[in-house]
Amino acid sequence: MTGVLPPDTATAPPTTRPARRRHTARWVAVTVLVVAAGLIAVLATRQPAAVSEVQSPLVGTQAPPVRGLTVDGRAFALARPPGTFVVLNFFAPWCEPCQAEGPELVHFAFEHQQAGDAKMVSVVFDDSASDARSYQATLGATWPTLADPQGTIALSYGVRAPPSTFLIAPDGRVVAYIVAPVTAADLDGLIARARATGA
């Protein structure tokens, strides 16, 4: 290669420059590491999705109307304002966590039936009225259970999956939303907290 070149260029000294090295790779790599560290930090502190809280935009607002036919065919409409605490429970007979929470609801309902300060209302989610009726009968539930065949009540409350429970204050505001099976103790606690904060 060198032999074929014109002689003058062959003897010219090579141009020298001070050694300057670009550090692009290093800077890019450091940036990537920093961003990745941030991502890992976020991922490490996440709760499992099944456990994480879901907020309802209804909390703090007036509860949407609850009216329709019950599974026994009677008409029912929740008074607005209801005047007492109302536990509005969306359930389905095919839903296993609902089956687990059923006896707790019965217990709660019986307790407060005597005191008269809280009522239970159930709404069937995505199942037939007849299935729900026999389910409630087996459970021993005596409170109103609405059929909601078109799912409109579920939509107005933004219910995605059963069991979903709303606690409505006597003045009609929604004060709590639980998207997991509840216990009677949970409900009592929520009522106490609502009272304390001036429901």
Partner: protein, 451 residues
């Protein structure tokens, strides 16, 4: 360079643009029908009870409800954003599959677009910079410290390869004359600027081609021959491999590899290492395995893991299984299991009581009088067999209350039930029935029930 060129590309461009304009509906713009509006809204609303699907895709009942609501709202004349707000007010902001373009969530739109723009800009800048400085200076592409012989050698190899490359491509007709000459000139100048090649090379490797380039004319050399490190004269360049696939990667090149200690005789060393290691593996595996699973044995499980139970263990296990199955709701299967135990051990009171209770439940469901009668017999037997068993009393009392309506007989059973110190959970579960019995019999409900 033809005198009359058929303007094919212009024609293609015009036709394409025209077709796209027509096809995109720019000329036939009818306002979307309400069905189309509803469909487009439905495609961005998430199905409430599904994971990733939109309500347009899903056939779940919640999706059906949302779809009909959307259609109603569209017919009522609400705008798209009003309908979305309506649903967000009920389900929360995560019901919309399109993240909002305001606030923090706008980042999800901004970042990709910004990333793309930045990348294109960087690319363009880098390429433009290279083109602008296409002189023979050293810091053209990559800055090479003059004092680093390895890097200089690498660069020399690269440039030699590039020159050979350009020749081949020109021959193949991929490069125009002008491009070929400019590339060749530039790379030659850069090669010269690197300085003279080092004198004696390392061992010429196998693929060094002996044929030198005879002349600098463009049309020279054979095709493909220069595909390897064919540089004229300088065997040093030929010695070090270029980045062709022919590099075999064998014997570590003396000028850049670490020193390899070849003093250890090969075969013995290999056997010793491997044997030690392999034995170590197995020992570790065994030593850890044996105590590990020795602690995890089920009752009756032998060392190899097969399970052999004594008769009483078998009975216990079957009862266990029956209880589990019963809790899962498979009453028929549970009854079978209890019957199994009873046939083998007719004096097993637990099986008797549980089977009686099961028959009662099944008989109740199917209104089967024979079953109910049999249930009654079994429970009475069970109560007689073991007066201290609270469960039998509870079952019998419930049967008496619900079948016969005999509250007082039920109450006497329940009294015995409570006297047998049942666990409070059981009392709690039975509370309703107990209260019913006592109140029907006109007696006071005992304290532990009312608790």
């Amino acid at each position: 360079m033809r005198s009359r060129r058929f303007p094919l590309w212009t024609l293609l461009a015009v036709v394409l643009v025209a077709a796209l304009l027509v096809g995109s509906g720019a000329f036939s713009s009818t306002p979307p029908t309400s069905a189309q509006r509803a469909a487009s809204i439905e495609s961005v609303i998430r199905c409430p009870s599904c994971e990733d699907l939109s309500v347009a895709d899903s056939s779940a009942p919640t999706a059906v409800t949302v779809r009909s609501t959307v259609r109603q709202l569209v017919d009522h004349g609400l705008t798209d954003s009003q309908i979305e707000d309506y649903l967000v007010a009920r389900y929360g902001s995560a019901i919309v599959l399109d993240p909002p373009t305001s606030g923090w969530s706008s980042l999800v739109w901004v970042l990709p677009i910004a990333g793309g723009v930045i990348a294109v800009a960087v690319l363009a800048a880098v390429l433009a910079r290279r083109r602008r400085r296409s002189g023979p200076s050293l810091d053209d592409d990559v800055l090479v410290p003059a004092a680093d012989p390895v890097a200089v050698e690498e660069r020399r190899r690269f440039l030699t390869q590039s020159l050979a490359d350009a020749d081949a491509e020109y021959l193949a007709g991929d490069l125009t004359d002008a491009d070929y000459l400019s590339l060749r000139q530039r790379d030659l100048a850069r090669l010269v600027a690197l300085g003279p090649a080092p004198a004696a090379p390392a061992t010429p490797t196998d693929w060094a081609t002996p044929t030198a380039w005879a002349d600098p004319e463009p049309v020279s050399g054979g095709p493909g021959r220069e595909g390897s490190a064919g540089s004229a004269g300088s065997a040093a360049s030929a010695a070090s491999a270029t980045v062709t696939a022919e590099r075999s990667g064998t014997p570590l090149e003396p000028d850049r590899s670490d020193r390899v200690d070849r003093s250890v005789p090969r075969r013995r060393g290999r056997n010793k290492w491997f044997l030690v290691g392999a034995i170590g593996c197995f020992v570790v595996a065994l030593v850890v395995a044996v105590p590990l699973f020795a602690s995890h044995r089920l009752p009756g499980q032998t060392a190899t893991g097969s399970v052999a139970l004594s008769p009483s263990q078998q009975v216990a296990r079957t009862l266990d299984q029956a209880a589990t199955v019963e809790n899962q709701g498979q009453l028929g299967l549970a009854a079978q299991l209890y019957q199994q135990v009873l046939t083998a051990h007719p004096d097993n009171e637990v099986a008797l009581a549980q089977l009686g209770w099961l028959e009662y439940k099944i008989g109740q469901q199917g209104s089967d009088a024979t079953l109910l009668a049999d249930a009654r017999t079994k429970l009475t037997q069970a109560v007689a067999m073991t007066p201290g068993d609270y469960a039998a009393h509870l079952y019998l009392g419930t049967l008496l209350l619900q079948l016969d309506g005999n509250a007082s007989a039920a109450v006497s059973q329940f009294d015995q039930f409570l006297a047998d110190s049942p666990p409070s959970t059981v009392v709690g579960q039975a509370a309703t029935v107990l209260r019913q019995a006592y109140t029907s019999a006109g007696m006071a409900v005992p304290a532990e029930v009312a608790a």
